[in-house]
Amino acid sequence: MTNPPEPVVRALAPTAVTKAFGRRGFLAGLGGAVALPLLAACGSSSSSTANAAPSGGGSTQLESTLSIYTWGAYDDPKTFTNYTAALGPAVTIDSYSSNQEMIAKLVAAKGTSGYDIVVPTGPYIPEMISNKLLMTLDHSKLPNLTNVDPQFLAKDWDPQNQYSVCKDWGTTGFVYDTTKITRSLTSWADFLDAAQNEAAGQTAVLDVPEDLVGMYFWANGIDWNTTSQTDLDAAQSFLTSKIAKNIKAFDSYPGSGGAMPKGTYTLMQAWNGDARQGLQAAKNPSQYKWVLPTPATELWMDNWSITANAPHPNAAHAFINYVLDTKNSLREVEFMGYNSGIKNIEPLAVAAKTEYLDMIFYTPAQVATMKTGVINEATQTKVNIMNTVKAAAAA
């Protein structure tokens, strides 16, 4: 029984064969395919394909729709409805849980994904630019760029903000259920310890390779951008043998996704804004405690970018400009719980009596413990570690 697939492998190996087959097959199959465009014609907006649309050019006419591919629960739904009411384009949203997922989708589709706006984390931007995944931003369509605090502009990954504008920044910490863990947890070492004790089998971690592996490095005082194979091996063996079996779920959105307010986990790694949304949804918020762990943790910055083949570039620019408006930005901050990097957003949020301010805004001393990740040769290794840990967690 193991025989049959093998000839398939060998017989169809040369590309020339598959290509020729494809072309010939296409002509032959054309008859059948004729029915499809007819079907497609019934579709609402399906006739406008990504390839057909030229990039903005001189036209400033807003398109009728806009599609955004972003992180989960990352914007106030009112932002979209208000934008549509004010400017016209109807917004559709898709969400992802990691940069890898977003990039995989864009690259695999070779420009046919149909997304206009994506929200990559800073370090991924240079590679995305060099792989021609992003469109150059037209600053003349972004007058509100002047609202952005200069310390969040001109970052290493895009010194002239040609391709990206800060959406917000945040950090990675954890939340625990104080009815089940009665001692005080303050560091990543505490997290790893509690995961093996009070929260054994009831721990959730982010579904992101860098953050999973990061915990170990942060807890052990190792630079989390290390490329040392010894360090990476140590991380893998610790996470696989000690932590994996205690992981209940790989969940990037324990707060906004609803697991935390429902009491699903005892201990969960989380981004500050997501943890805040979880506290807001919990019936008894005092049961949960948010920790910005010592001695070190992550600082990430996510950015608005437009895809290279965006079918609706004008609507995309208009949207980015819309959210850079100070008033709109404040509403976003209040909803998602991340600092948007707009000038004076902190005093405005304080004045607006925004909940859990300490989870959104951090002191310079706290920020000094946070470090931005980089993309390097360890990135692929971290993906592999993640897969190994996932396999071990399921065993």
Partner: protein, 630 residues
């Protein structure tokens, strides 16, 4: 490869069962005929273009490597290293898990379905049994994902079931089943149970009651009749059911990831993540190829074991039946009456029989409760006033308001319905032609064609998904055939593959059962071929065509894995929308929309049943048509 072919669907054995009329000596060359395979040619081309070619592409990718962080695949150096990498990596461990879940799931499905279906096919009255069968299918007209989410509501630690069990002191604390292996097991049994029930029903329904009577008359007790008559005759159904459950289960990762959390890491997810996250097409392709090989190997092993068991049983039967007969016939003569044995024995068997009947009935009720529980929860939670899907916050109609007003929800449902109709049309046309060709024009081409169909059926969805995406992209961008950039076109093509194979088998089964003399009679009455087709053949085939179209439509409406891969933004179908919300926060309107869709489906089903009945079908025919078992 001939094993799955005979087991896949209840179809007559080989292509030679219907005598090919072309070789009939009489009549000379009265009818001029096109090449025999001509009717199957469109389906064949469709499979060549959208099944063989893309799968070959994946096989090709598996020999390459990942060139860099943003490079997806490179085939400039060919090697088998990826296969070694897969075997050395976490694949084996995950595969072991998956195999365990799949085998346990298949066995559980069989254990649950066998008494249940036996009750339905043998014990239930002729009138009620069709309704009872239709009742099995109704829950499966709600979305696959939504049903699975219903289990999250049932099993929640703060849910009603958990409360009840705690009150009864059956559990120490809140129910801790979610995000465990047990939850995965419950979910897969639930989702795949009908795939076991249907083929079993077909097999048991065809079983002549006279055979069991005969067994009893020959002195065999219940157990023996069950083991030596009923079960062997149900064997084809069991084999088909096991295959229909096992194969998709091996590739499914949706059920497991919704219910199992970290414990739900299936091998399908591992393959998917190589494409969706790690962007390592070579490794993902190699893993997918190994998955297929492993599925075929496990199926072959299971088939071999089944054959050995059957052989052993047959051998035993021959030996044991012979001495049994004279022993049983002795008391029948009543020459030497054993003390009070016949009356007592009879009463005892009657009591046992009554107990068994009650037991079967209870079992059937339990199965129905199991089938409907998650649906009931979904319907109740569709009235959740709260912001989160799973947290009950009081009664309210916000969910329905959102479901009907949110443009994304509406567009997702519309896309799904369009894809469903498109799939049904394409699959029905291609499958019907191919089915007719297989039943009426079989020839040397039939065997390879049937093998191809069987391959389509046993290919796990994840394999199809990872093959279609690069194929569509390459047709659309590298070859500038922009029609393949259209999301709806992609969905219809991807969904139509499996659906076409199913329709073909259903139509073939129907046609093989029909007497060709009817068509010949029409010809003798000078009906031209077109008229013959429209007035004789087509009406005869109608139940099979309707069943095929409905199955194709449901399959497309339910499909999540394929759609996740091939769909294009702007054409996001409903299941993909739900699945992406699973991770980033579900809202009550998902339950509301599903309830609306369930109601609409019931209305459509009811209407179809009425139309079919008006059209002269008996109740049994209608039920069989609706459930696709005709």
């Amino acid at each position: 490869m001939s094993r799955p072919e005979t087991g896949v669907l209840p179809a007559p054995e080989g292509p030679t069962t219907t005598a090919p009329p072309a070789t009939a000596p009489s009549g000379g060359t009265r009818r001029r005929r096109a090449p025999k395979f001509i009717l199957a040619a469109p389906a064949g081309l469709w499979f060549a273009l959208f099944f063989i070619a893309p799968v070959a592409l994946v096989a090709w990718y598996s020999l390459g490597f990942k060139p860099g962080l943003f490079g997806f695949h490179d085939n400039s150096i060919l090697s088998l290293d990826r296969y070694r990498e897969v075997i050395d990596g976490p694949f084996l461990e995950t595969f072991k898990n998956t195999l365990f879940i799949a085998v346990t799931g298949t066995v559980l499905c069989l254990v649950i379905a066998l008494p249940f279906t036996y009750f339905l096919a043998v014990k239930a009255g002729p009138r009620s049994r069709n309704i009872l069968l239709a009742l099995v299918m109704v829950p499966f007209w709600t979305n696959f994902l939504v049903r699975t989410l219903g289990w999250r509501l049932i099993l929640a630690p703060d849910g009603n079931l958990s409360g009840l069990l705690q009150q009864l002191h059956l559990t120490g604390g809140p129910l801790d089943v979610l995000d465990t292996r047990l939850a995965v097991q419950i979910g897969v049994v639930y989702n795949y149970l009908p795939l076991m029930i249907l083929p079993l029903w077909v097999a048991l329904d065809r079983l002549d009651p006279a055979l069991r009577e005969a067994s009893k008359d020959l002195g065999a007790n219940r157990l023996r009749t069950m083991l030596q008559v009923t079960l062997p005759l149900a064997m084809p159904g069991i084999a088909t059911g096991a295959l229909l459950v096992f194969v998709p289960l091996m590739g499914d990762y949706i059920t497991a990831s919704v219910l199992g959390g970290a414990k739900g890491n299936m091998v399908g997810l591992l393959v998917a993540s190589q494409f969706q996250e790690a962007s390592n097409w070579a490794l993902g392709s190699a893993a997918a190829m190994l998955l297929i090989v492993a599925i075929l190997a496990s199926t072959a092993i299971a088939a071999a074991v089944a054959l050995v068991i059957r052989w052993l049983l047959r051998r035993r039967r021959v030996v044991t039946l012979v001495p049994a007969r004279p022993f049983q016939s002795a008391p029948a003569g009543r020459a030497v009456p054993p003390v009070s044995s016949p009356a007592g024995h009879e009463r005892r068997t009657r009591v046992i029989g009554r107990i068994l009947d009650v037991g079967l009935r209870v079992w059937a009720v339990a199965v129905y409760v199991f089938l409907y529980a998650p649906i009931a929860y979904i319907v109740v939670y569709s009235f959740n006033r709260g912001r989160l899907f799973a947290s009950w916050d009081g009664f309210g109609l916000n969910g329905y308001q959102d479901a009907l007003s949110l443009p994304q929800v509406r567009s997702a449902v519309i896309v799904s319905l369009q894809a469903g109709v498109g799939t049904a049309v394409v699959a029905t046309v291609l499958g019907t032609c191919a089915g007719i060709a297989l039943a009426r024009r079989s020839g040397r081409w039939s065997t390879p064609f049937t093998v191809l169909l069987a391959l389509v059926l046993v290919t796990p969805e994840i394999m199809l998904a990872i093959s279609e995406l690069p194929w569509f992209v390459s047709l659309g961008t590298d070859h500038n055939l922009s029609v393949f950039n259209n999301g709806l076109v992609r969905l219809v093509i991807a969904h139509s593959l499996f659906a076409t194979a199913v329709v073909t088998f259903i139509v073939r089964a129907r046609m093989s059962g029909l007497d060709e003399s009817l068509e010949e009679a029409a010809a003798d009455l000078y009906a031209p071929p077109s008229r013959r087709f429209y007035q004789v053949t087509l009406p005869l085939m109608m139940p099979a065509i309707i069943a095929g179209a409905m199955l194709s439509f449901t399959f497309s409406l339910d499909d999540t894995i394929l759609s996740t891969f091939v769909s294009v933004q702007g054409n996001t179908p409903w299941p993909v929308y739900i699945f992406s919300s699973v991770r980033s926060g579900l809202r009550p309107f998902i339950a509301s929309m599903s309830t609306i869709m369930l109601l609409l489906t019931l209305v459509v089903l009811g209407t179809t049943a009425l139309v079919l009945r008006r059209g002269g079908g008996s109740g049994s025919d209608v039920a069989q048509t609706m459930t696709g078992t005709g």
